[in-house]
């Protein structure tokens, strides 16, 4: 089980604030593809991604038990 936390406008785009996916292992970019395929239009490409509170790149591995946060840059101030 991989837990996905959605921040800011992603919550609205997905219609939920977190998602659990039953996968043993994948990569960040595969995870993005899965989410894009299963949910209508998420603007995931420009998000920061953190795995267990550590900055992650597209090629990084995500394993069952990990928490992945998708954090879109917000510009308000």
């Amino acid at each position: 089980m991989i837990k996905i936390l959605l921040f800011a406008q992603l919550q609205e785009e997905f219609g939920v604030k977190d998602i659990e996916i039953n996968l043993m292992e994948t990569t960040v970019s595969q995870l993005k593809e899965i989410l894009k395929a299963n949910f209508k239009f998420p603007s995931l490409d420009h998000c920061m991604v953190a795995i267990n509170e550590e900055y992650a790149m597209d090629f990084d591995t995500v394993q069952s038990g990990d928490t992945v946060a998708f954090i879109p840059p917000v510009s308000g101030g």
């Binding site: 420009h46 920061m48 550590e54 900055y55 954090i71 101030g77």
Partner: protein, 338 residues
Amino acid sequence: MKDRYSRQKMFKPIGEDGQVKLGKKHVLLIGCGALGSTNAENLVRAGIGKLTIIDRDYVELTNLQRQNLYVEQDCHEQLPKVIAAKNRLQAINSSVWIDAHVMDANYDTLRPVIEQQSIDLIIDATDNFDTRFLINDISHKHNIPWIMGSCVGSTGMSFTILPGETPCLQCLLDAMPVSGATCDSVGIIAPAVQMVTAFQSAEALKILVEDYEALRTTLVTFDLWNNYFQTIRVERAKKEQCPTCGKQPIYPHLQYENQTKSEVLCGRNTVQIRTGNEIPIDILATRLRKIGQVKMNPYLLSIDYESYRTVIFRDGRVLIHGTNCKDIAKKIYYQLIG
């Protein structure tokens, strides 16, 4: 005990010495909206030496829900934000030197401010990524730490950037975000603003009293309504080839061709803004439909917002019809695109 800073000096990591240091420091605050108001107030109450504030905007009724320095009277008088801010800040602490500039923050206007005096810290209180990337380049070129902050809805983030040590904004975001959610398109609650400024002001105090050991090295992000809180370790995001903080910096956002430019289109009551990047108008459309009438074709999106018609071309050009004033046009532009 009767000293106005006594409770701050009792706090051990500041103490008498820290208070003396604070009194000699100069902070440049870019933006005086929600984050800017609270940051300015914190620094002035804390007794820094000098605060330079830059903002191009004036006080409006919709600001009052979260922008702490302003009152109804400032709206009625349509005071520029930095002027209203300075009035209040001097009433709070008459001994701090407040230098207020009613102007757009771009490289042309910031350059003299930076080069003619010594600045110890830059605080980001802007509402757009153009200016954040500009600050990021200035910070690294002139070796001045800066503290990023942004917020929208019930969420926000902050990160402290030390040139030569931490990853920079360019490392973290790779490319300029095409469009960040703005307070004007998805709303904002005041506690989210204050949470960001609590982080920014605490980091500012650490830098100003030179307690670098205590600095937060993580990027912090939260959602107050949904009770999220993450502190993200970002060391590995730092890139040797980064054009801003890498080995051979070119400071891309200080270069003329990459700056967002605006020009008045004579006789048309229109301002044109040109960005360096493509604009993903389909992503934007979803968000903008909530705040105005949107029309779209494959090349452009148009929206009626406030009393202006704004046309956004996919290739990066934006026309704001209904004004000859660049500052008004930029404001609308950043409210829509972020």
